[in-house]
Symmetry: C2
Subunit: 375 residues, 2 copies
């Protein structure tokens, strides 16, 4: 068990109708004016926008709208929103949407209190010292952004998808209402499942030593996601399964799975970010292509843990059988496992690798080997 | 999945030598003078007191000592400490010891800012609105008090053992150094194991519905405790096992295991409190007598969950086999499972029941049935 500090200041409000209290939660934090960030017009069609703005008005919270955030959110959108937030002197940022909207909101929260370009902080080039308070209603369970201090944004100019982390950007209050998450398409449900699994296996496989309790927590998350994804594909209205799925998603990246481990990395996310920055593939879909490929290349570095995974999650006897079982499950639920499912092939590999030339964690040769498993 | 709010403001500092930073952690919270609460003189003999006071002095934190807290802590000690804390105008409470010292410290933190008798808050008769900040170095992994808002104290006058809960009494910073926990006796190690298991099974068995992810988390804690207890009995110096045990203990009662469930209770603790208030049995030892007895009476109310427990934790096929496996494990590690191991017998049952006459959760007849299983 490696030494660690653990602190998670986010307050979670989980359950039916909790979004109706968002004005109260914001008011309790002394905030009077927010930038209300969202993606498409869908939240205006399905009533969520009305519920939220009604609650804000009831609690005398002013708001300024900023819509149009897209999946795989981009820096130019963040820049535009920061401009509005500064002009309007907002005191907080309210995100209504999935991880893309929330990550954008986190970047906006940082950039609004900064004179330079918020991209200065990405890639951990600079420490974040302050940010506006962030509140959110998370409408897609995948990124875990609702309970962590990470945000991932793509800089369209240089095709770099990079992240920030800071204790300042943990949301103050996050509302998780599984009922708001059931309108997700079947595609995005399965991409979410992959994202959640990816979040917890990165450390599970790459840390040198993995405390037993932590391994069990990761396995619990993965087994829950496998079980509930299959239920939700057949019955999207199953609230219990949706709730289990959502809470597993939150726990996959809120610090719960990485206490006591060290020297771990996020190689699957590293590689996937190149894919989605170049070709705008959905993040989870990119991950389900990368994970089996990476695992087939990597497993001998930690065969004991891959064998444990195979047994505990799939009841299989060897590392390779476990990896294949995971890949088969991805195929079963309909998330891609080969580059050609994005109409990409061997000739795209060098471009993907070139887009990762800024990093030193995985060599070009090894990236080639990994990506060749995805052909 | 029932609706819930989740918020845990404690910062955990886990690892070797972290107690040497306690002065820094306290100073970072703006505190300049603490009441340093502890139990026996052991911490002065083993060097921990010196490490702590050195760190306090280095960080210009004044301290006033208050030693002598006993296991199954009593109200009169808390009253005496409150008197000192008030006279000395302390700004915070620093606890060095196990759950008894920390629970006393939490009660002291509340009582110091209250004009009446702190017992007024016990049994949830009154809401706690404020408390001094609390810091701790937890030297016994059992109660989980280091990361929750509970405290349990015995009122010697009326033999009532009761609790308080408040967001105000979550410690600000808790130091968990497994190396400080290895001097625990074998008896207290096994009593701790029972306490940890009890904490997570109360909700696991008594909630009407139990989300799958939460069941898996509980089973992960219990399996980890079973495994690491057996390792530590043979090798108390095994740091990895000690670390896993400690973190499982913290998670058993920090909110992690009770999200999404409702209408659950703590019947085993309820009954055990009567035992320890009357006869001063160690809390964990009382629990290992109560749990199998209560389970044998209760299991038909939730046979599916008891059957799941049997299978997931012990690889057994039926509820009763699971209960017996747990009881056998208690016997194996050497924690009591019968009242006669405390030199108590059938004639003590009415006294134990009478001491529970304040509550309505379990009828006298049912208490009689339960306790008869413990003969």
């Amino acid at each position: 068990m490696e030494s660690f500090s653990f602190y998670n200041p986010t307050k979670i409000e989980f359950g039916k109708n909790k979004e109706k209290n968002i004005g109260k939660y914001i008011g309790q934090n002394g905030i009077k004016k927010v930038l209300l960030v969202y993606g498409s017009q869908r939240i205006k069609e399905d009533g969520l926008f009305d519920s939220v703005t009604h609650s804000l008005k009831e609690n005398n919270i002013e708001f300024v709208e900023f819509g149009g955030v897209i999946s795989n959110p981009i820096l130019s959108t963040v820049h535009n929103a920061i401009k509005v937030a500064k002009e309007q002197n907002v005191q907080g940022i309210l995100s209504i949407g999935g991880g893309s909207v929330l990550d954008s909101s986190k970047a906006i929260a940082v950039g609004t209190l900064y004179d330079g370009d918020v991209w200065d902080f990405f890639g951990r080039k600079k420490d974040i010292e302050k940010a506006l308070p962030i509140f959110d209603i998370i409408t897609l369970a995948a990124t875990g952004s609702e309970m962590n201090g990470y945000a991932v944004i793509t800089n369209e100019k240089n095709k770099r998808k990079d992240s920030i982390w800071s204790p300042c950007i943990y949301p103050k209050v996050s509302v998780i209402n599984p009922e708001l998450q059931k309108s997700v398409s079947k595609d995005y449900l399965v991409y979410s499942a992959t994202d959640i699994i990816a979040h917890c296996i990165e450390g599970y496989f790459t840390a040198k030593k993995h405390p037993t309790y932590m391994s069990r927590v990761v396995e619990s998350i993965i087994k829950t996601v496998i079980e509930t994804t299959e239920i939700l594909i057949k019955n999207p209205d199953d609230y219990e399964a949706r709730g289990d799925f959502a809470w597993a998603a939150t726990n996959a990246l809120n610090g719960t799975t990485t206490v006591g481990i060290s020297n771990y990395s996020f190689p699957n996310h590293l590689i996937e970010h190149s894919l989605s920055a170049l070709y705008n593939v959905p993040h989870g879909a990119g991950l389900s292509v990368v994970i089996p490929a990476w695992a087939k290349w990597y497993y001998k570095e930690n065969e004991a843990q891959f064998t444990r995974f195979a047994k505990e999650v799939f009841g299989k006897n060897s590392a390779i059988e476990g990896i294949e079982a995971l890949e088969n499950w991805f195929n079963k639920i309909g998330t891609p496992t080969r580059l050609n499912q994005f109409n990409l092939d061997k000739k795209n590999i060098s471009e993907i690798i070139e887009n990762l030339s800024f990093q030193e964690e995985i060599s070009k040769d090894d990236l080639e080997k990994i990506l060749n498993f995805a052909i």
